[in-house]
Symmetry: C2
DNA sequence: TGGCTTTATTGATTTAGGTCATGGCAGCAC
DNA sequence: GTGCTGCCATGACCTAAATCAATAAAGCCA
């Protein structure tokens, strides 16, 4: 019953089901307490459910939306991971965000009515698409949904400003440590291991995200490993000394 | 009738009045077409007006709110200018935003219920305070206000991401040029000179905002002046070659 | 299985911008 | 006026990270 791509909708069973299954409703999705529905009651979740579109899983490299396209929807990551990036005038890509299950993206497009970056799946991923005009209408009817969405956007603002502060003041070592800790904390929040995980991005993508070159990222990984703080096996990171890494990262969280 | 600090409220005259006058209603404020009220009709603006608190003008250095304080309101700059900054663990201040008349700040505090940065006036300034819980209630009643606020927050997200991209990829010269152009464009939008203006920040604040040292900012100003692109007289900047500066800044706007 | 492409590591060298230091100048109090 | 204090300019030097380069390892597919 919880295999991806099983049968019909209406999966109102006792156990919550696999989030990669496209037929899971918001009420049954095990991400409910991270995603939009938080603060909504059962009836409201059903209304939200009606406007959410759950597409086929995406393959690595598939785009959710592209920079410059007409803005229509925001997206919630259900499984897998997604990066967003801006394409500069010279064609260079600059990674602006990494989105894990339960996180919402695409909100930068609301004001200008077109997406301000491109979002692509970093691995096989499933996402929920929420048409924004419907979300807006529903938010008028459900004040707590409006509030939830205000809070989500505010969170994005806070996150971006933290990132900005970090990129413009911290050393390469601090930035890399902070990213590892951020992924660790988000995994922990999703009840996954906070000490061992697979990096969804290449060294080049991490560098682009942190304002570093891929060589520097690689060197920092090696250095942190030499110091015994982490273990690196290609994309698999094991944090050996969580507190040591936190001390290095010098971030408040 | 348009002197700051004149008499009573109810200034419904034909001509729009000076925005530093604390008794001007949203409908009469000449910033109406930049600020929150855009897209609202007359009746709606009156409702918005009821919840907006217009305080005494602030002096240079006065705080609108402080990092860590309980979040209560968002603020609109009416006249003067405001900076926001985050205080790091070591007590260092990092400037995260510059807000000119018509611009809204404080939205980062919504999600965590406390302000995520400190905002202080850079010069004599007047601001409107909008208690957020009242704005939220009103937004349910006035869908176009909800929409306007969604757009404002989205704008902040887009702005921050652009800033992030810039700080992590562009050279010192490009960053300084881009900031000058940003101020120029915002002045132009307010029907002020786009080629001559007073910088509201010190070299140190500009550096902090752009992820540079004050020495570098100073050197870049000198260099741009030597190239004939701008004229610098202490805080007064005159852009001599707008197109040349744009070419240097390498930004899309 | 081998050949191809993408990704990662590590070393040598360069450079943009930081750091340190000095002097000038504007604004303000008295 | 004189002396302070904060801000700015500019020079000398240094360093973190970029760039250039070569090699190795992983993933892919035919």
């Amino acid at each position: 019953m919880s295999e991806p791509g099983s049968g019909q909708g209406g999966t109102h069973s006792g156990e919550r089901v696999c989030p990669s299954n496209p037929n899971v409703s918001c009420g049954d999705c095990r991400l409910g307490d991270l995603c939009l529905p938080i603060t909504l009651d059962a009836g409201e979740i059903n209304q939200l459910d009606e406007i959410v579109k759950r597409g086929r899983p995406l393959k690595r490299g598939d785009a959710l939306y592209r920079q410059g396209e007409k803005f229509t929807s925001v997206f919630a990551v259900r499984s897998g991971s997604v990066k967003s990036f801006q394409t500069a005038l010279d064609g260079e890509e600059r990674v602006t965000g990494l989105y894990l299950p339960g996180e919402i993206l695409g909100m930068g497009g609301i004001s200008s009515m077109q997406y301000d970056n491109t979002a692509v799946a970093l691995e096989t991923a499933s996402v929920c698409e929420i048409p924004f005009h419907l979300l807006e209408e529903l938010s008028v009817k459900i004040p707590s949904l409006q509030g939830r969405f205000f809070r989500l956007m505010s969170q994005e603002i806070t996150k971006d400003q933290k990132m900005l502060t970090m990129v413009s003041t911290n050393t390469a070592e601090e930035r890399v440590s902070a990213l590892l800790l951020s992924i660790s904390a988000r995994n922990h929040h999703r009840k996954l291991s906070q000490t061992c995980f697979i990096l969804p991005m290449t060294r080049a993508e991490i560098g682009s995200y942190l304002g570093l070159t891929l060589e520097t990222v690689s060197r920092i990984f090696s250095r942190l490993q030499k110091q015994g703080l982490i273990k690196v096996d290609n994309k698999e990171i094991t944090i050996e000394e969580l507190d040591g890494l936190k001390a290095l990262a010098k971030v408040s969280s």
